[in-house]
């Protein structure tokens, strides 16, 4: 009869009223993220040989790196990612042969100013850089 569908609808909403809720109370409860989650980035500076493959692999030219030549090896001095252009596609992480670049599970990347969006992963102290040219001791954090 006419109302049959209408009553079925009410019955469903009545049942759902008492069902367990699915929403997460965000700041207190954290969403469960899978291990492969594409969040922010971290770089193991010691593994990185500053070859620049990740820079060319990236479609939006997000990564910028400087290095200084020491003998036959190159040492990474500066590594920044302009996350406002990043597609989080993972081509850079995939292209790195030394497996130095990895994703993290951190997804809260919003900043107040545009400058803060630039994620500086390695920044050798300027002083050390000048001295480094002479004999190349340990680089910055």
């Amino acid at each position: 009869m006419f109302g049959q569908g209408l009553l079925k609808g009410l019955q469903i909403t009545w049942r759902e009223f008492f069902n367990k809720k699915v929403t997460i109370l965000y700041p207190e409860q954290r969403p469960p993220l899978p291990p492969r989650f594409h969040g922010s980035f971290r770089l193991e500076a010691e593994k990185c040989i500053a070859c620049g493959i990740c820079v060319t692999a990236c479609p939006n030219r997000v990564i910028r790196l400087d290095s200084v030549r020491e003998g036959k090896k190159r040492r990474l001095t500066y590594y920044v990612m302009y996350l406002q252009y990043c597609l989080f596609c993972g081509l850079c992480v995939e292209s790195c042969n030394q497996e130095a670049l990895h994703f993290t599970q951190d997804f809260e990347l919003a900043q107040y100013t545009r400058e803060d969006l630039a994620l500086v992963l390695v920044k050798a102290p300027v002083v050390a850089e000048a001295a480094a040219a002479a004999q190349g001791e340990g680089e910055g954090a």
Binding site: G5, L6, K8, Q11, I12, P34, R36, L87, F88, G90
Partner: protein, 369 residues
């Protein structure tokens, strides 16, 4: 003779910022008190010049851009593009990768159709009808996130295979989702499809004649709802779709109601395909032999079509021998399905315009490219 009431036509702007235009889409409606006399669609607000950009990116770098076409079914866009490049450069894809691609593509189709069920219910006014399909779509997005690392812009497929193999916790979670799906679909049918008010709002509204649909190049669920049997997975099988048996749901009178019901049935069919693909999933590598720098032969050209979530999704690629395509064109189903909106909407009321536009299920990322 009773003097005819002199009514003056009202021109209303629907969009580009409007709650139910599914993106940045604008329609100039010429109204005679609620009845539409003409609808002029205006597109281009989301035009990012993808086809120009693709000419200065390597074949692999274009993959993340294809996610942003129909951002509700990124896996399907990837699948179409990657298969086109494999045809262009003649690359073999291992068995396991083919099956993983089918599983992910059909999951993306389910996510896109679930979103359609949700937004169409809300266009017609059922706010709660929006919430339940969205809750279930979350589970599909979690599965895609488990596999590729991100929910929507997955960039998971690569030329010659897929980025990474399936994680172990993926298959049990997928089986659980497939088992719960029929109960969810019964809930939508109970709450929305069976509802007399919903039927009154959608039955015989915006009827699309099959011949006109074919002539205007309409494809996908909109065409099948008008009773035309045209599904590339069956008629021109690509990849390994010929190994699965599933039906192609068809509508009878091509109205908003049929377009809604056809998509719900397609969700069931996609789940059926996934089940079969999971059973036949072989072991083995997920990446074929692909040269470090992909250089298709000079002058090679390919036009490859797949059955996307919104319709026939085609990629036309021309190679000049370098590692960048000379020309890339995307045949976007939403763009072409939208071409008929003026004729479909004329003569209906404002409320129906929203229902008809919703029933075509366009995605502006694909329309504007």
């Amino acid at each position: 003779m009773q003097p005819r009431l002199e009514t003056e036509e009202v021109i209303v702007n629907l969009g580009p910022q409007h709650p139910s235009t599914h993106g940045v889409f604008r329609m100039i409606l010429r109204l005679e008190h609620e009845v539409i006399t003409e609808a002029i669609p205006v597109v281009g607000y989301l035009h990012r010049g993808l086809e120009k950009l693709a000419e200065v990116r390597t074949y692999t770098q274009i993959i993340p851009y294809t996610d942003r076409l129909d951002y509700l079914a990124a896996m399907l866009n990837n699948l179409g593009y990657v298969q086109a490049v494999e045809k262009l450069a003649g690359i073999e894809v291992p068995e396991r990768a083919e099956y993983i691609r089918v599983i992910c593509a059909e999951l993306s189709r389910i996510a896109s159709h679930l979103l359609f069920v949700a937004t169409f219910a809300m266009d017609v006014g059922a706010i709660t009808g929006f919430m339940y399909p969205f809750r279930d779509r979350e589970r599909v997005l979690d599965l895609l996130e488990m596999v590729s690392g991100s929910r929507l812009t997955v960039s998971y497929m690569r030329v010659g295979g897929v980025a990474e193999d399936l994680p172990e916790e993926f298959l049990p979670a997928l089986k659980k989702f497939l088992d719960d799906l029929p109960a969810c679909i019964d809930e939508y049918n109970g709450l929305i499809t069976g509802n007399e008010i919903f039927q009154a709002r959608t039955k015989y509204v915006g009827r699309l004649d099959p011949q006109v649909a074919i002539n205007y190049g309409i494809s996908g669920p909109v065409l099948r709802a008008s009773g035309v049997y045209y599904d590339l997975r069956k008629l021109r099988p690509y990849g390994i779709y010929d190994r699965f048996d599933f039906e192609v749901p068809l509508g009878k009178n091509g109205d908003c109601f049929d377009r809604f019901v056809v998509r719900i049935k397609e969700i069931e069919q996609s789940a059926r395909i996934i089940r079969q693909a999971v059973e036949q999933l072989p072991e083995g590598p997920v990446m074929g032999k692909v040269p470090k720098v992909l250089r298709p032969p000079k002058g090679a050209e390919v036009y490859h079509e797949i059955e996307g979530a919104k319709g026939v999704l085609g990629y036309y690629l021309v190679s000049d021998g370098s590692n960048r395509p000379y020309r890339m064109h995307v045949r976007a189903p939403s763009f072409i399905n939208l071409g008929l909106i003026n004729e479909m909407v004329r003569g209906w009321k404002v409320a129906d315009v929203i229902a008809i536009l919703g029933s075509i299920d366009i995605c502006l990322g694909e329309v504007d490219r």
